[in-house]
């Protein structure tokens, strides 16, 4: 009997089921804007779906009974948990949202080296058992020590039959990117508004890390009222000030830092502004000037997002007048959670100027 015992096909059916569940989760993300499924940045994504168990008559009291019956596979109260690699999750999400990979500019002169076991040699440390056995079997048949017809089953492994995995140097160009997050602390950034902003910042953070590779993107946070300051990521969401506001100062600061601290030829710049959009007319004009003259020529992408704007919000209207349908400068309006995905599409989707 020459059979290889495996459950590959049945595993395939189960994996298809999980894939369907995953699609549903992605649909959920897209419909509800639930884009923050990460425990730690770059870590695997924990996905939970209802467990499937064939329902049978079992003992148990009524208090257990929160399960949802359903036909076919019964659904128990239990959950199936599995890890989805961060890379894979972002790829799926990118595909679903039809987000193109970000264009990497710069020479990518810095190279990243890794070793992949791609070749096979006669000397080495890690023995490739399958290849070794195949060669040994071939030579044993040739030398006549293995001949089932004569009831001979010996397989001699000679030194020259051995095959080892040999590491091969792989070079990948490494690109550098920096992302500036700018926030208005003069408006009421708390409650739902804060949650909306956090969720969006988190996604941008993950998306850039996914595109450039974790560790290759520097994320810097800035806040402003009438003055602009660099803050820690935690402070970005916590500091507040009730007073006047001048947003142009933060755009100005970011453009100065970009040019003074980074090699503009080899760095990919990203900048995202979050605020309620309530700025003075001259402030908005100043911002448009900074965007046009300083930032647009050097930045890969700039996003201006009005979070829960009011009727007095003016910033995006002014920017739109100048940069409507611009490939680099994008605008978004985030009124509620379900709009998150639309804003993401606006910020990162393909657009030809």
């Amino acid at each position: 009997m020459d059979v290889r015992i495996s459950s590959d096909e049945s595993e395939g059916v189960f994996n298809d089921f999980i894939q369907e569940q995953l699609d549903e989760i992605l649909d959920d993300i897209i419909n509800k804007g639930d884009v923050d499924r990460f425990d730690d940045r770059g870590s695997d994504v924990i996905i939970e779906v209802d467990d499937i168990v064939p329902p049978t008559f079992v003992y148990g009291d009524d208090s257990d009974g929160a399960g949802d019956g359903g036909e076919g596979p019964g659904r128990e109260k239990g959950r199936l948990r599995f890890k989805l690699p961060f890379q894979m999750f972002m790829e799926l999400l990118g595909e679903r949202l039809k987000l193109p990979n970000l264009v990497k500019e710069g020479s990518g002169r810095i190279k990243e080296f890794s070793y992949a076991f791609k070749t096979f040699g006669q000397v080495g440390v890690i023995l490739d058992k399958r290849r070794t056995f195949k060669r040994a079997l071939r030579s044993s048949i040739g030398s006549g020590v293995y001949d089932p017809a004569r009831d001979l089953y010996d397989v001699h492994v000679r030194r020259r039959d051995r095959r080892f995995h040999v590491p091969q140097r792989v070079e990948k160009p490494r690109y550098r990117a920096v992302c500036f997050y700018m926030g208005d602390i003069s408006y009421s950034t708390y409650g739902e508004r804060l949650e909306l902003e956090k969720r969006l910042v988190n996604f941008i953070h993950q998306w850039l890390d996914f595109n450039y590779g974790p560790g290759h993107v520097e994320h810097r946070f800035f806040v402003h009222d009438v003055e602009a300051h660099e803050v820690s990521p935690t402070d970005f969401f916590t500091v507040g000030n009730a007073g006047g506001t001048r947003a142009a100062v933060v755009f100005d600061l970011v453009s100065q830092i970009a040019f003074n601290e980074y090699e503009s030829a080899s760095t990919n710049f990203y900048g995202f502004y979050f605020g309620d959009g309530e700025v003075f007319e001259d402030d908005a004009k100043k911002i448009v000037d900074v965007l046009r003259l300083d930032m647009k020529p050097a930045f890969n992408r700039i996003g201006v997002v009005e979070v829960k704007p009011s009727q007095f919000s003016y910033l995006n209207r002014e920017i739109k007048r100048e940069f409507d349908k611009d490939a680099v400068i994008r605008m978004g309006t985030l009124r509620q959670r379900s709009e998150t995905v639309e804003v993401i599409k606006n910020l990162f989707g393909t657009r030809h100027a």
Binding site: E11, P54, T56, V58, Y59, D61, A66, G72, P73
Partner: protein
């Protein structure tokens, strides 16, 4: 998966093991040994120990989990032995095991194969594995005929009924139904007697009526009942004479099903039914296998066919370590019980004289002089009893104490709330409970196997409905699982399906599900009504 003959060392060991088994007088079917890689082994276990299985999501789910557990080190991929008994029997060895372990596995398998061949439950059958492989191909064809969605739904429906298999119950299909082909045996009569054809006694109805005196029912009623019975038999091809606990067997014979659907029912039943035998004989079976394993291994060590006696001893003592009676280690209990029984036979203590001896001094020093064939007597036990009788007859309180079946870890005893009055002995780590109730507690397992007892009591309830009955044992069924389970049964029966449990009647009719409070019926009442040919239960 490769034959053991592809490995010269193992092929030699196989020869030696079978040689010693024959020398020791073992009655064996043909045994075919195969060597598997660890993941193949894991997969085989998920296929109910057959080399192939139809595509199904449940096996896939279990296998994905198992692979993950093995890869992350949560579970060992070292499985020692797996055997599918029958003639021929298929035994599988793990590629990663050492020669001494492989030899012990082969010796162990010898015991299982003989037990399966000989035991009163008649587990072994010809070409079981081959038949299942044929069924797998049939199910595969059925899948193509039914279409993926239909196949999946039907398979899932059958999964719900898979635990309801009891081929060795006194309420199995053969005893519970009467068909045109065969009349059912009387429920309650011993299995051995029922298989004997009964002598036909001439019956003269009128005379019998007169001789038997006044009957409770009139001859008119009796005639009506007889006619109804004949009509039913003509219409459906069977009559339910008693509750049927072997629900899946009933469905595969009598549920309206297409050929493809019936193939799925057959496959599930044929692959799962042997588990009932395992449940009912596990202690005897594992004990018998350990007993012969040890004897054969000692012979192998003696002739130096294999090295590693220390390793073997370590594994053996680990497998046979005592556990409390409620955790049931069949290897430990079975092996020691067989050793104990051998000693009893050798000393002539399984005899009427010994039982009737009243002199305690004489009894304590009892030694019978005549030659006793202890092994033959043990073989007779294999031929005639199952675990229930085995334990009932030989597990005494003294032996339970000697084998530490009543020994519990102190922390566990605390968690269980064991009181001082129940403790007969203690040391730094363990306490020993009163061994008196151990046997009764262990025997209780064989009445329910820790599963709800579900019977089919009417297959024509309210015009074609299938009425199931949950036999009351003080524990309620989990309610939120009743509905999906009944739905799945409805998918198979294709007509209303109902469940009577305690004072509730649950019903699935088409897309409707309802439950209502009803007057409970005792199991004895149901059996009696069915015996008389009455409806076992009528809705209010």
């Amino acid at each position: 998966m490769r034959s053991v003959r592809s490995d010269s060392v193992l092929a030699e060991l196989e020869q030696r093991v079978l040689h010693h088994a024959q020398l020791m007088g073992r009655r064996l079917p043909e045994i075919r040994f195969f060597i598997l890689e660890p993941l193949e082994f894991a997969s085989l276990l998920e296929k109910d120990v057959y080399p192939t299985s139809p595509i199904n999501i449940w096996e896939g789910k279990r296998m994905v989990h198992k692979k993950h557990a093995i890869e992350t080190g949560l579970e060992s991929s070292l499985f020692y032995e797996v055997v599918q008994t029958g003639d021929p029997s298929y035994a599988y060895l793990n590629d990663g095991n050492s020669p001494v372990t492989q030899a012990s596995v082969m010796a162990h398998v010898v015991g299982h194969c003989e037990f399966s061949e000989r035991n009163v439950l008649g587990d072994s059958n010809a070409n079981r594995t081959e038949y299942v492989m044929h069924l797998v191909r049939e199910v595969d064809r059925a899948r193509r005929q039914m279409g993926a969605q239909d196949y999946l739904e039907y398979w899932n429906a059958v999964e719900s009924v898979t635990p309801l298999i009891s081929p060795n119950s006194q309420f199995n299909l053969r005893r519970a139904t009467e068909t045109e082909d065969a009349l059912s045996a009387q429920v309650g009569s011993p299995a051995g007697e029922s298989s004997e054809p009964e002598a036909l006694t001439p019956v003269f109805d009128t005379l019998t009526q007169l001789l038997s005196g006044a009957s409770e029912e009139s001859s008119f009623e009796s005639e009506l009942r007889k006619r109804r019975r004949d009509e039913t038999l003509n219409r459906r091809g069977y009559i339910l004479k008693a509750p049927c606990q072997d629900v899946l067997d009933f469905l595969r014979h009598h549920a309206p099903a297409s050929r493809a659907e019936r193939t799925i029912l057959d496959y599930k039943y044929v692959t799962r039914a042997p588990q009932d035998f395992v449940l009912r004989t596990q202690i005897m079976n594992e004990g018998w296998a350990m007993y012969w394993e040890k004897k054969i291994m000692l012979a192998l060590f003696e002739e130096r066919a294999v090295d590693g006696v220390i390793d073997y001893t370590r594994v053996f003592s680990n497998v046979c370590r005592p556990r409390p009676y409620f955790q049931r280690n069949p290897y430990h209990l079975g092996y020691h019980l067989w050793c104990h029984i051998e000693k009893l036979y050798r000393e002539g203590k399984v005899s009427l004289e010994y039982r009737e001896e009243v002199d305690r001094e004489k009894k304590a020093h009892w030694r019978e002089e005549r030659e006793v064939d202890a092994i033959g007597a043990m073989g007779h036990l294999v031929d005639t009893v199952t675990d229930y009788e085995f334990l009932r007859r030989f597990l005494t309180p003294e032996l339970a104490h000697e084998l530490h079946l009543n020994r519990v870890d102190q922390r566990m005893a605390e968690r269980m709330g064991v009181e001082d009055k129940d403790i007969v002995h203690r040391d730094d780590h363990y306490v020993w409970l009163d061994p008196g109730p151990v046997r009764e507690e262990m025997l209780r397992f064989y009445t329910h196997f820790h599963r709800p007892r579900i019977y089919i009591i009417d297959s024509d309830f309210d015009d074609g409905g299938l009425l199931l009955y949950h036999r009351e044992d003080g524990r309620p069924l989990r309610k939120d699982w009743i509905r999906p389970t009944l739905r799945n049964l409805h998918r198979i029966w294709k007509a209303p399906v109902l469940l009577l449990t305690q004072d509730q009647l649950f019903a699935v009719t088409g897309n409707q599900y309802k439950s209502e409070e009803v007057t409970p019926a005792s199991f004895d009442e149901v059996v009696e009504k069915m015996r008389r040919g009455d409806k076992p239960y009528r809705a209010a």
